[in-house]
């Protein structure tokens, strides 16, 4: 399958850039943890509120970090004519999409592990129901990364990229925030059975936007 091997090549390129430049590790990851810390300041750590609202705060932190990760992913393409090189490489748009979205998925999943440890430590949350947490996180992250990548290429190369990407990505991913928060809440409170419909919703969301990205990316890469 050339589509998949090309996608792996693109993802490998993005992850190698991150491994060398350390922007994700050194800036986006601390930003996510910082958001968790700021929520605790805002909601007063004395109260019993934090464990109850932890799932929502966790996913808001992930979404904010995802916006940065998407911007970063397309910032590396805008320098030194990298995007033209990508276009001329003969790699299909679908592969570029899958590769870039895949790299973002891996970055975000790593971030989520750290943030989950953070909520465990900072918000006094008892982490349990991993059999729900993991599928939820994977499905939600695929959806976020797919929408982010499509909007990232839409806004790539624009002067207003940094301000436009959040306005585009955050409303579209509102169902992900809802679904993932509810599923996490159900898992953490022990009612895992209630979580599965939400996981299904997240899977549908991810499927819709991964398909949209595969179909639309070639034209966006060419024209936009």
């Amino acid at each position: 399958m050339t589509i998949l091997s090309d996608a792996l090549a693109v993802a490998g390129k993005d992850l190698r850039i991150e491994a060398r430049s350390r922007v994700t590790l050194g800036q986006i990851l601390p930003f996510g943890v910082l958001v968790l810390l700021l929520f605790a300041f805002a909601l007063d750590p004395q109260s019993r509120l934090l464990p109850n609202v932890a799932p929502g705060l966790f996913w808001i932190a992930v979404l904010l970090a995802a916006v940065l990760a998407v911007s970063r992913s397309f910032a590396v393409e805008s320098e030194h004519g990298a995007r033209d090189a990508l276009r001329l490489s003969g790699i299909d748009g679908a592969s570029v999409f899958l590769g870039k979205a895949g790299a973002i998925v891996l970055e975000l999943l790593a971030l989520e592990v750290v943030l989950l440890i953070g909520t465990f430590g900072l918000y006094n949350v008892n982490v349990r129901g991993l059999e729900v947490l993991i599928p939820t996180a994977v499905a939600a992250t695929c959806g976020i990364a797919a929408t982010g990548t499509v909007y990232g290429i839409l806004a790539a190369g624009l002067r207003v990229r940094e301000t436009l990407v959040p306005l585009l990505v955050l409303p579209v991913t509102a169902p992900v925030l809802l679904g993932a928060t509810r599923a996490f809440d159900d898992a953490l409170t022990g009612s895992t059975g209630d979580a599965w419909p939400w996981v299904q919703l997240l899977v549908v969301f991810a499927a819709v936007y991964v398909t949209a990205g595969i179909v639309a990316f070639e034209s966006l890469l060419e024209e936009a």
Binding site: V150, L164, P171, V204, A212, A224
Partner: protein, 260 residues
């Protein structure tokens, strides 16, 4: 159709829209009876006069959804190679602008209505929340349209963005209604919220309102598309003038150099 007869038709359409909206206002304020009687709101048997907002609220919500539907359809027509023409892109943009305006109006009217009936400006009702997300979805779309580039680039970018946003609408609605059924306590939706639209004058007024707003939409979207086309022509002419000026300036410079 000549330009003159077209403008006559347009003026007529505008006049019909104005008349229909005016008739809706008269019907809604003076003709239809209050819900459950004049003092129904005090007695708790109905909404009284408050429900009259329905005749603006429902048509503007309908218009918002119609406008976003037209945006999606026009974007699809632009993406489809055999029907690709820039006027579809202008239609998509004009329709989305109207959609955002009427979504905003729907939210504002809904809040005004919610205060007396629900006792709060904003209830986390499924439809309300979906409409709010919709507002921001298309605000982003409009922002994307304004970022510059050639008309073809803009059309490609925005048509795909419009379809992405449109695909999100059912998912948002589904997730939000699911979310609210889990969380909503029934107190907000008490008996006062029910309106009894059995009166024929109420039904007729609601239909009239929907028809009036639809004609208004047709008129506004037509004028907006024309304005966008004129703006596009102006930008093109300015660009040509600027190029001509540069060429003239470049041609003039060597001669000046010789003269010195």
């Amino acid at each position: 159709m000549s330009a003159q007869s077209r403008s006559v038709w347009q003026t007529a359409l505008g006049a019909v829209a104005a008349l229909a909206v005016g008739a809706t206002v008269v019907m809604a304020l003076f003709v239809v009876p209050a819900d459950g009687g004049r003092d129904a709101f005090v007695r708790g048997t109905g909404q009284g006069d408050a429900y009259r907002l329905l005749f603006l609220h429902v048509p503007s919500a309908w218009l918002a959804y119609l406008a976003f539907g037209v945006t999606a359809l026009a974007s699809l027509l632009w993406l489809f190679p055999r029907t690709r023409a820039l006027h579809w892109d202008l239609l998509a943009g004009a329709s989305a602008e109207l959609g955002v305006i009427f979504t905003g109006l729907t939210l504002a009217l809904g809040s005004l209505w919610g205060k007396p009936i629900w006792g709060q400006w904003w209830a986390w009702d499924a439809r309300l929340t979906t409409t709010a997300v919709l507002f921001f979805l298309y605000l982003g779309y409009l922002a994307l349209r304004r970022v510059g580039g050639s008309p073809e680039q803009r059309a490609m970018r925005s048509s795909i963005a419009a379809l992405i946003a449109f695909a999100d609408v059912p998912i948002v609605h589904f997730s939000v209604s699911w979310w609210t059924t889990l969380h909503q306590d029934g107190s907000v939706f008490n008996a006062k919220m029910q309106i009894h639209i059995q009166d024929t004058s109420m039904q007729a007024t609601l239909l009239l309102g929907v028809a009036a707003f639809t004609v208004l939409y047709a008129y506004l979207v037509l004028r907006r598309v024309q304005l966008l086309a004129v703006e596009e022509g102006l930008a093109e002419r300015e660009l040509e003038a600027a190029i001509a000026q540069r060429v003239a300036a470049a041609g003039a410079r060597p001669r000046e150099a010789v003269s010195i």
